[in-house]
Symmetry: C3
Subunit: 388 residues, 3 copies
Amino acid sequence: MAANGCKGRLLSLLDYRTEKYIVAKNKTVGVLYRLIQLSIIGYIIGWVFLSKKGYQEKDEAIQSTVITKLKGVSMTNTTESGLLMWGPEDYVIPPQGEAVLFVVTNFLETPNQKLGYCAESPKVLDGLCHQDGDCQEGKLVVSGHGLMSGRCLHRDENAPGTCEIFGWCPVERKFKPQSLLTNAENFTIYIKNFIHFPKFKFSKSNILETTDVSYLKCRYDEKLHPYCPIFRLGDITARAGYNFNDMATFGGSIGIQIQWDCDLDKGYSECHPQYTFTRQDITASNTIATGFNFRHARYFKNSAGESYRSLYKFYGVRFNIMVNGKAGMFNIVPTAISVGSGLALMGVGVFLCDMILLYILKNGTAYRERKFEGSQQTPESQSGILVL
Amino acid sequence: MAANGCKGRLLSLLDYRTEKYIVAKNKTVGVLYRLIQLSIIGYIIGWVFLSKKGYQEKDEAIQSTVITKLKGVSMTNTTESGLLMWGPEDYVIPPQGEAVLFVVTNFLETPNQKLGYCAESPKVLDGLCHQDGDCQEGKLVVSGHGLMSGRCLHRDENAPGTCEIFGWCPVERKFKPQSLLTNAENFTIYIKNFIHFPKFKFSKSNILETTDVSYLKCRYDEKLHPYCPIFRLGDITARAGYNFNDMATFGGSIGIQIQWDCDLDKGYSECHPQYTFTRQDITASNTIATGFNFRHARYFKNSAGESYRSLYKFYGVRFNIMVNGKAGMFNIVPTAISVGSGLALMGVGVFLCDMILLYILKNGTAYRERKFEGSQQTPESQSGILVL
Amino acid sequence: MAANGCKGRLLSLLDYRTEKYIVAKNKTVGVLYRLIQLSIIGYIIGWVFLSKKGYQEKDEAIQSTVITKLKGVSMTNTTESGLLMWGPEDYVIPPQGEAVLFVVTNFLETPNQKLGYCAESPKVLDGLCHQDGDCQEGKLVVSGHGLMSGRCLHRDENAPGTCEIFGWCPVERKFKPQSLLTNAENFTIYIKNFIHFPKFKFSKSNILETTDVSYLKCRYDEKLHPYCPIFRLGDITARAGYNFNDMATFGGSIGIQIQWDCDLDKGYSECHPQYTFTRQDITASNTIATGFNFRHARYFKNSAGESYRSLYKFYGVRFNIMVNGKAGMFNIVPTAISVGSGLALMGVGVFLCDMILLYILKNGTAYRERKFEGSQQTPESQSGILVL
């Protein structure tokens, strides 16, 4: 008997139980429910699957290496520096081909600075003085260039002067805005970008896999040469919406974004880099943060072993190559989450339609009695939330 | 007749079918089910929506550009280097305003090194010797400074000596810890940070959009000037919990994290940077990795064209500006996933209550018979898992 | 009476309503439904929970700081440069211990360049000429080294020559491939990596927390010393599948990836770095992008104050240390989403089994009549989608 009961129990495990429905021949609610069903199905297929690719596992942790190389020469002629020939070894800072690099377009040389005494620059507010008492001996000039000696230097006694300082003399003079490396816009930058998606073990490069050496004689163009990794600097700024020579005088910052949106379900060859160019030192109405410059010193020693230096104030365009990307590949987990939660939304539609059928329509009481078997309560007691 | 059947079928598609429920007048299970319902609704509203903002699409792939500029001067006076005036062009390495920068706070100069023969430093274990046989000619000293000549140099015959090497001579002497750029803590760093969220095409900068030039005379303070992008180095280390001068002698590494948590539903102006400062070269109980230094050489040529150099061992504080952020904006997909899976959790509550009602409570058999219509099995055969 | 009704309504809120099922004693559908149930439960437990850890909140926004330090010396002897001793201050570019660093393995020095007139390099296509007319005076040589003077220089009148240019003379000669810093493969790199997961406020370093100073005398080895942060360069390239000396001649790029997969539910000590090494300048069949070199100039001034320079073309291996990681910790939100959407998938099974039971099996009509109470339509009008 016990064995028999056990067997019966096990067999009944294989009985199929299906929910009992009551049919409400109400076209209003019926149509409404069908519409809700259709819009949820449309949302799952159209939005979640086609537009957002909800069936794919995503890898947004792209690994990327960027190597850059510039080409081009330019000649400058200034009173301080004389004739100078600029090659990539001079105008690219740092020279080792980084993803963030600076191209000198303009400079101000202060040659042959030596440690000694001279007048502070009149640009430094804290260095202005009327008399020796304004220059406290042994104190550093705030945002200045050296240590005050205690003397105030003027051209004539009534005019305001500047404190005498101990520092690298002579101090840098004022800058007359002009663009010196005039053909910097013709320099080219060769960008090598190697990417890797660790989750999918997928690697690619922005350089076509070809053995044709003439390929690297190209210039990037969205339409003609979208896979060319060599860019003319003037074209880059033009694509960002700015004229290179306007940026060259005071400098600026350009972002080169390489976007990899790879649908790995479509295969290796369908994963391409897309380049976008934006100016980064200008936001909506922000003007005080524009421009880009820094100073650099080259040190020398004379035959007596004394140090002297050339101070350079470099203005230029900073290129910031940012690589961004995501790869997607079919995976059952996100598919299940997308389908499952889409289907679960149907419950909202059922709840809504039940409310209308049972409590808003005229013959709701009759439906309520049929739906809720064995309820002895007054009909109005079955509030909607009960069947949620 | 066929047309009629078809029409009837189509019309019946618009009938609404609703599940039939049986009402169990059992207050215990009823109260339990209400409690489960309330806690799931509370979880969806409170946790998923309010706390985690589950209704928002997130963009965590922030694009960021950081430009830095330091100001301040310092003077040092050492026996080897004499009087020196340090400006940003000297103490900031690299000078071009990167997000990772190093500020020299202490240094050891070994001036006028020439290629030649001299004794290896006694700090190099592999260079110690007692007799010439310890110094194998033509072999490089491991972790040392040059090539062994085969001679062992001692002051007196019994004391241990060091091998003679061919290399840049004289070798660097031992370092006496002291902090040389004493007012480095008063240097200021101006951080320009431009961010962009590509998914939402949203850009912003940490610099206020103002035309008021006096704005950039500020110093950052969480309370007084939270939007000031200019930081005093001493304040940065203090906020990280360390005294600048303690770090200055042997160097260290400070992380400046700029956090952008942008709720784009609230609008452009509600997206602010938040700065946090942490010391990075010290973890829980890790002391062997602290400090930061590196060597750099400046090359010169004398009038005969022979090279000589000054070797600098720089100690200092490395600042690493990291930008992190996410933006969220209302989107129907994550909302649907959150609501859908929240509602689906109700199924767990239903399963639990059914178990209690049908198999734990006394009059479960009666409920089972009402719930499962047409079952002819013995009641105990309907195990709980069946109705999952 | 009204109060009574209200009380009754409130009490009925605590009645428990459970769905009514009909039992279909059909073993085929029953077995199918059990199989679907089991595979969904198996999927939730096995895949979502165990394999993908769907119960954890993830933080993939790892913050990382990398500090590097190289050790080792090498000696070179070339006709142009003579005997040279290379230390880290010379062969590591940049010297300040960055995460992206370049180790010189080979170089070509062009010493004592002065601004003046000389023949363009025959490597520059645009500088080749047959007669003076080919060299337009005052025009820059494209991808060349200077400004054409208008003269064409040949050895004898019939052979092709190159244009005379104004630039840094003499120009760089052709490179004879050879590896100069022969023992560069024995250099060691000490990598300090500090990580932080902001979401969980979790910090760690790749350096063991020990006070044992001999620990840092180790060399990394996957099996013997997996927590040793010091790597021999030759071992790194060997692990990436390349011979160091093959890469040394023309240079290359190696990625050192530090992977942190931290299951924070398991505790602090169970979060380890894993190192992987890959060559980055070679993809599948891409050969034109391989190699790595750049030029750098050192400037000098003679006693007359005239500038001259040494131009270095550096070949070498670029190391790119990339830190990647994610941390996971139990959290109720992703658990709820995973469980909820897994359970919701059961609805798909119910739908499928209902279809088979009601419309495919022989006695479907009988089941339909029991399932849909009060339907007066012809049986075939109840198409499957109705009960979705």
